[in-house]
């Protein structure tokens, strides 16, 4: 490593760390504002609220029907995780193991939903789903959420599968395993860390996926983040603290899964797909 000891470079380093500090402090203060407000009795024009209470949680729970919303959220997320796992892992296996005509085109087809922002393809997608009557239903929301998650699983899994020696599979074939047995007894155990990482990332992304769910959800198929949007949008109807209590519930739901996910993946993987794979 090169060490610069001139005053200029020290000043420069200090300036850079100041910017990082400023960003992190503001970010944490923003989150702290929401949490503080959700426990406040009255908070107007002072540094801290006058008193503390937890009653906003029970009022938010009943006002926004959080029980139902959470149930729908977990059902949607569960279905999305399962289906994108099955579709994504099988497709990734084919793409990792075979070279065929049109493979590059297919990879591009899977790359596009990740590069194009959801709101751009969400509007035509919602139009189609409304025409078929699927929009507003549970499966409509699941279908819309699958559009970016299936390609995501495929692109995370391809390098994982590529690093497994094909000779292991050949050996299993020699001993008479069919494709299904090969998958269950050989590939699945070897791929489990990769599948787990990919699916946890899908889970976190789906809980936080606002645009697609917002465009196709009906009143009974809203996920938590969409319900939160409507609550903030109609601010003034309800107490701010009540909305903040809901925001904290949303934060906790997301963060629990994020913490679990971070045990298996590098934080940078949430942004850059599988750039730095741990060597197995």
């Amino acid at each position: 490593m090169i060490r610069d000891t001139t005053i200029g470079s020290k000043l420069w380093a200090a300036a850079v760390w100041t910017v990082v500090g400023f960003f992190v402090v503001n970010l944490l203060a923003m989150i702290a504002t929401v949490v503080t407000s959700s426990f406040a009795t009255r908070w107007l024009g002072t540094w801290l609220p006058i008193g503390w209470t937890t009653r906003w949680y029970s009022s938010a729970w009943s006002e926004f029907q959080l029980g139902d919303v959470l149930l729908v959220t977990f059902q949607v997320v569960g279905a999305v995780v399962l289906i994108s796992g099955v579709l994504g892992v099988t497709a990734a296996y084919a793409l990792a193991r075979r070279d065929f005509a049109g493979k590059r085109l297919l990879v591009l087809l899977f790359l596009l939903p990740l590069l194009i922002p959801p709101i751009t393809f969400g509007i035509p997608l919602a139009t189609v789903l409304y025409r078929t009557g699927l929009a507003g239903t549970f499966w409509g929301v699941v279908a819309a959420n699958l559009v970016p998650t299936v390609p995501f699983v495929i692109l995370v899994m391809i390098p994982f599968i590529e690093q497994i020696d094909p000779k292991i599979e050949a050996a299993a074939r020699v001993f008479g395993a069919n494709t299904f047995k090969l998958f269950i007894h050989v590939l699945l155990p070897l791929l489990l860390p990769g599948i787990l990482a990919a699916l946890l990332l899908v889970l976190v992304r789906t809980i936080a996926m606002f645009e697609l769910t917002f465009l196709v959800a009906g009143p009974t198929s809203q996920t938590l983040v969409v319900a939160l949007y409507y609550a903030v949008f109609a601010a003034g109807v309800r107490a701010v603290q009540s909305i903040d209590a809901m925001a904290v519930v949303y934060m906790v739901t997301t963060l629990i899964w994020l913490i679990i996910a971070l045990r298996f993946v590098n934080p940078t993987q949430i942004v850059t797909r599988a750039k730095q794979q741990p060597a197995h």
Binding site: M1, A91, F100, F121, M209, F210, E211, V225, L258, V271
Partner: protein, 303 residues
Amino acid sequence: MDALAPTPTILEGPSLRQRLAAYGFDAVTLLVVPAAIFSLLLFVYPFAFGFILSFEPKAGGDWLANYKRFFSDPFLYETIGKTLGLAVPVTLLNLLIAVPIAFRVRLMRRQRLLTTILVLPITLGTVLVAEGLLNYLGPQGWFNRTLMTFGLISQPLKLVHNYWGVFASLVITGFPFTFLLTLSYVTGIDPALEQAAATLGASAWQRFRHIYLPLLMPGFAITFCLSFVQAFSVFPSAVLLGEPAGLTRVISIAAYQAAFEEYDYPMASAVAMIMGFVQLAIVVAVLASRGLFYRGPASGAKG
């Protein structure tokens, strides 16, 4: 065929199955089919459908009526300029801050804490960031309060329900994204190249300008494109933190209103197509200029 091939047992070529296998098509390849059909049905088909629908105006008129309406109504065509006015400065600012920080963080042993904190706003999403900023940047929020305590301002700054609210939310969610992408490009370059330059007496600025910058330009171009596209499609924070009827009426609001307030799906599709086209135009322009820079291996080989 039989007449021309009197001894089929000898002349028979490989079976269809074998010939397909030679091109890489066999049972394993078929595993890709479900996902491909799914993508065609839910991604390609809606896009094509929306594209065709945008030429079939709801109110009648000729096939370009929706586009003509978009480009003649200032309430609609000005959304492009407003969205660009948000997305371009935010993306440039994020990239300009991210690069020096990435160069510092690359030297750190323990990056995990910082990257974990930075991943927070990405995972929490724009809706939560908007809700948090509404309180935090509001006239009674901690941000204005701190500035007033230090005597930097006498009146609270107006930071929400205008351009700056949306700007701040795009920095909070966009900067971590840009930074983590930049970091992965910066750490991908072999430090030996920099050490060689340092041995030859290049200063820190010279090493950046003549070694790193040319090597990183392609990566920066891709980072810019991805961050720009994210910022260009800003929606929830433009509604919640901005002035959705005025200064921050971005193009996705126009598309949403056409679809869900006027129930004019052809018009909404037209706006979505225009939005996609503008994104594509900027991305193509940036990636085309990438050809002007060095392309080749820069990551270290073993040894």
